[in-house]
């Protein structure tokens, strides 16, 4: 019987004006998003490889002497990701340039082609279309699912038969899900076909699974709106009032609550201004510089008769440690501030869905924070490599520290001056998380979405059981 109801629901919906308009809107958005992604990804990949190759060729130029690797400052860029077709994660306005030497790093900067005069919108990615448009369409298709039938009198007829109420409800639910699912899946396929056809990206098996996970997540998200449509519809006796309430709920959940993120982040997690952090660094370094003798006589002096390389190494290490401690803390504060905004606004399923898809696609704030951690690990690897190469040179003092000037690097012999093989020098490469790790990050959000589903399902079930069909 459920199958009959589902079939009837789908047929009813497919022939309606709302379905045809929604289908056109959704498909055109997915197609537009696909074409824009192709153009953008092509340009970003070109930029990325040009800048990365520039960095590598500079690195190659600094392999004539081992000590040059100590002073060389690398600049790496955020790699454009194929999965940003699914979730772009607002990366247009997030930092993309990371500069560092083996000891210190600068706060990441935003240097991409993004235009700061334009409003900060996300790309027309899947998450955008699904979280805003498909969820809206889900409401349009379900707002009168119960009360509409009541008004037309068909509900009374249906219940006069022997069909149990829960079967009607399930039929309605699956009917609506399948109806929303049709434009959604057609849109997703078109978007994928465009991407595959232009061959700008290569999608491997791991990424296929991630895409599948995002599709399932999207269905879970859409299901919340279908259920809430059925719920509100079974609470009201007129379709007009059901629509008013649903629209307000939708506006509140999908548009207004996410807009509070920035203010909430600023209020609940205030962080010091960047200039204050910089003056803290200056102050910390100044304190160390005021008392260099603590590290041994002659610490900090070079090019004089008092030169004491081991003490100077300790002296500069202390400065680097002081700077890094403050910078690490500040970066963490910035990331935490953004996470706080998300955390407090996650009463909105749209935010939860956004966060979960970003985690699975490996984009967004979490990715940038992770990239910074990867850079720190790379710094350690690079230092380890320099140490191992340096150990082979018996003339070297084996003092690896941030050289205050080229003179020290060239004259003290703190680190070997032998040439190194460029091919063996570790190079930075961003690593993506495996599907399991990504899902682990998103597990709480998936749970929350499931919880929303459960709550709305129970609510609609209870309301429909008590619904007065007359």
């Amino acid at each position: 019987m459920i199958r009959n109801i589902i079939g009837k629901e789908i047929l009813n919906n497919l022939l309606s004006l709302r379905f045809i308009l929604s289908l056109l809107l959704i498909i055109s958005l997915f197609a537009t998003g696909g074409f824009m992604f192709v153009g953008k990804h092509w340009q970003e990949s070109n930029d990325y490889w040009r800048d990365t190759n520039r960095n590598l060729s500079s690195l190659r130029e600094h392999t004539n002497h081992l000590y040059e690797l100590v002073t060389f400052r690398q600049v790496v860029w955020r790699r454009p990701k194929p999965l940003s077709i699914c979730a772009e994660g607002f990366e247009n306005t997030l930092p993309d340039r990371f500069s560092f030497d083996p000891f210190t790093w600068d706060l990441p900067e935003v240097r991409s082609r993004s235009n700061f005069l334009l409003p900060h919108f996300s790309d027309i990615d899947w998450v955008f279309t699904i979280s805003l448009i498909v969820s809206f369409v889900a409401l349009l298709l379900t707002y009168d699912s119960i009360c509409g039938e009541k008004l037309s009198g068909t509900l009374r007829l249906m219940l006069a038969g022997s069909i149990p109420r829960h079967k009607i409800l399930l039929g309605k639910y699956f009917g609506a899900m399948l109806t929303v699912g049709i434009p959604l899946l057609i849109g997703l396929l078109i978007s994928l076909i465009i991407v595959v056809f232009y061959r700008v990206v290569e999608i491997d098996t791991g990424q296929c699974f991630k895409i599948l996970a995002i599709v399932l997540l999207s269905l879970l998200y859409i299901s919340i709106f279908v259920l809430s449509g059925i719920f509100i519809s079974s609470r009201s006796h007129k379709s007009a009032s059901s629509m008013v309430v649903l629209l307000l709920v939708w506006v509140g959940l999908v548009i207004l609550i996410p807009s509070f993120g920035r203010i909430i982040a600023g209020t609940f997690n205030k962080i010091p201004a960047r200039v204050d952090m910089e003056s803290r660094v200056t102050e910390a370094i100044k304190q160390i510089r005021e008392n260099p003798d603590k590290f041994g006589k002659g610490a900090g002096s070079y090019h004089s008769h008092e030169d004491n390389p081991p003490a100077t190494a300790k002296y500069y290490d202390a400065q680097v440690d002081a700077r890094n401690a403050i910078m690490d803390e500040y970066l963490q504060q910035m990331v935490d501030q953004a996470k706080t905004g998300r955390y407090y606004t996650c009463i909105s399923p749209a935010i939860i869905y956004q966060r979960a898809s970003e985690a699975i696609a490996g984009v967004g704030v979490h990715r940038i924070a992770d990239l910074c951690q990867q850079i720190k690990r790379y710094q350690e690897n690079l230092k380890e490599y320099i140490r191992s190469k340096d150990a082979e040179d018996s003339d070297s003092l084996h003092l690896l520290f941030q050289f205050p000037s080229d003179w020290v690097a060239e004259n003290w012999h703190a680190i070997s001056d032998k040439q190194v093989d460029f091919d063996n020098v570790p190079k930075f490469q961003e690593r993506d998380l495996a599907l399991g790790q990504s899902l682990k990050l998103a597990i709480w959000d998936i749970g929350l979405l499931a919880l929303f589903n459960l709550v709305f399902f129970t609510a609609s079930f209870v309301s429909f059981l008590r619904y007065d069909v007359r």
């Binding site: 929604s22 958005l29 005069l117 919108f121 805003l132 307000l248 982040a265 960047r274």
Partner: protein, 521 residues
């Protein structure tokens, strides 16, 4: 008869569930948004005041004219609570110095780049989203609803002309919708007016009045759009679908897609390229100017000088030999002229880049003008002064001020030929400086030399500390005004388009209604 219809309709409207819910939502949102936004404004105002006071204090401690490099700040606009526009995205301050020409720039202040994942929040959001939805919910069944109930047939069976009926409906609809707007405005303004630190001037009130009028024009435009859908469809369910899809496209799809479209069509140059272009043109300048500078200072007598810590993190010549004066004078003057040249060159390239950004922004804006909601957003930000032109006028003001400061420095230093340009050292101090240094140089033995050196160092330190500040009471003050009129002029196009939408959709609904089949099934 029009008014009779309007009165009945108004009473019916006010009694509806959607009116009650819509009004309550608008009022509650305003009551929640306003304090939050005012609090945010107060924080920005506090930062502004603190920065201005700190800058003035440093300015008072300036000892040489060369070090007059203040920072000017843009006072946060109180009306940014209505429309945030670019308020938090563009830099609110700029430095007045030789080395750079004021330029519109991304905010690098306290802002955390990671917060860019959140959309902006302002009062216009309530009107753009909630109110526009409410308007369409009122308008969608004005005609089709009456037809379904069969009342349209009844009304049309009398001698009432169709346009009377339509006008009556429109008047009633607009009055009904003006109510929540007005109530929300009054509540918002009461909260704003009674918040500490908020000082609304006459110009602000004029702007608020314009924002109110703009909001009314906007809801009327949306109402007419809804009316057209209602007059086109036979069933209210169909007109509701059309209205809602129009709404979601106008609110979400067009504003977003226009930005992406512009970014796609008018691609920007990468920042890396711009920066390397600047670097190479500065290198070029150095190659051209360097020999000229060296030629002019070569052969000039050198003496000695001791530097002091100056204002704005710069150093200055605290004490100097008379013989060194001419050399330093030439060096600093030529150096500063070179800095100005470099700044102009950098500005030229940056300005080209900024123009690219602007062209992209204009394209996005023009495309988004299909949506009445984007038009309304533009009106709000232009009148609030938080749009690009509002910032441009601040930067223009800063550029004028930079010239005024340079002119002031030139007047005070006889066109940069007086030593007071770079040193606070008086004639007597110069003499004493030379004598004391000679004493160190002419010491007979090491012990005497050490003693003389220590005395010299102490004297230099004390003298530099004692040197008086310039005071700078007659330094021109930074002042910039953005007038209500210029805001209105910038909003004129969008306001005009909103009015055009009003007229166009009214005319279309009229035509559709005249041909409307009033028979119910």
């Amino acid at each position: 008869m029009i008014f009779k219809i309007a009165k009945t309709e108004l009473l019916l409207n006010i009694m509806t569930f959607k009116f009650a819910v819509g009004t309550i939502v608008c009022v509650v949102l305003m009551a929640v948004f306003m304090p939050v936004l005012v609090n945010d404004y107060q924080q920005r105002l506090n930062d502004y005041n603190r920065n201005v006071i700190a800058n003035d204090a440093i300015l008072r401690s300036v000892k040489v004219y060369k070090n007059i490099t203040p920072t000017v700040y843009r006072r946060p606009s109180v009306l940014s609570v209505f429309s945030e526009g670019l308020e938090k995205r563009l830099g609110n301050s700029t430095k007045i110095e030789y080395e750079s020409v004021p330029q519109i720039n991304m905010a690098i202040t306290a802002d955390n780049p990671f917060l860019s994942i959140f959309p902006s929040l302002d009062v216009s959001l309530i009107f753009k989203i909630v109110l526009s939805l409410l308007v369409l919910l009122f308008a969608y069944d004005v005609i089709s609803g009456e037809r379904e109930q069969g009342t349209l047939k009844l009304i049309m069976s009398s001698s009432l002309p169709r346009y009377h009926f339509l006008l009556g409906k429109i008047i009633a609809g607009l009055i009904t919708l003006a109510l929540p707007v007005t109530i929300a405005f009054i509540i918002g303004l009461l909260i704003l007016e009674f918040s500490p630190m908020v000082d609304l001037t006459g110009s602000d009130w004029a702007r608020i009045g314009l924002i109110y009028i703009g909001s009314l024009v906007f809801i009327s435009a949306m109402y007419n759009v809804g009316l057209l859908f209602s007059a086109l469809a036979k069933e209210s369910a169909v007109s509701l679908m059309l209205a809602l899809l129009f709404w979601v496209v106008s609110v979400i799809v067009i504003p977003n897609a226009s930005v992406r479209f512009a970014a796609h069509i008018r691609s920007l140059q990468s920042r890396v390229k711009i920066e390397s272009e600047i670097e190479s043109s500065i290198e070029n300048l150095k190659e051209i100017e360097g020999p000229k500078v060296r030629q002019q200072i070569v052969g000039l007598t050198r003496g000695g000088a001791s530097m002091g810590k100056g204002a704005f993190g710069r150093i200055y010549v605290g004490l100097i030999d008379r013989s060194e004066v001419e050399f330093r004078m030439k060096m600093y003057t030529l150096g500063d002229y070179f800095s100005i040249k470099c700044a102009d060159k950098t500005w030229e390239i940056e300005n080209g880049y900024l123009n690219d950004l602007l062209r992209q922004k204009e394209l996005a804006e023009n495309v988004s003008r299909i949506s009445p909601i984007s038009l309304y957003g533009n009106v709000m930000s232009a009148i609030s002064g938080s749009d690009f032109a509002g910032f441009q006028s601040f930067i223009d003001g800063a550029k004028t001020y930079r010239n005024q400061v340079f002119e002031y420095i030139r007047t005070k230093t006889d066109n940069l030929t007086s030593p007071s340009y770079f040193t606070a050292c008086t004639e007597e101090e110069m003499r004493e400086y030379e004598e004391r240094r000679n004493k160190v140089n002419n010491a007979l033995d090491e012990a005497e030399k050490k003693k003389a050196w220590e005395a010299f160092v102490k004297w230099v330190k004390d003298t530099i500390a004692r040197q008086p500040a310039l005071g700078l009471h007659d330094l021109p003050r930074f002042n910039y005004q953005s007038s209500v009129l210029s805001g209105l002029r910038r909003a004129a196009l969008d306001l005009g388009l909103l009015m055009f939408i009003n007229v166009l959709f009214l005319a279309l609904s009229f035509i559709a209604f005249v041909r409307y089949d009033v028979r119910s099934n």
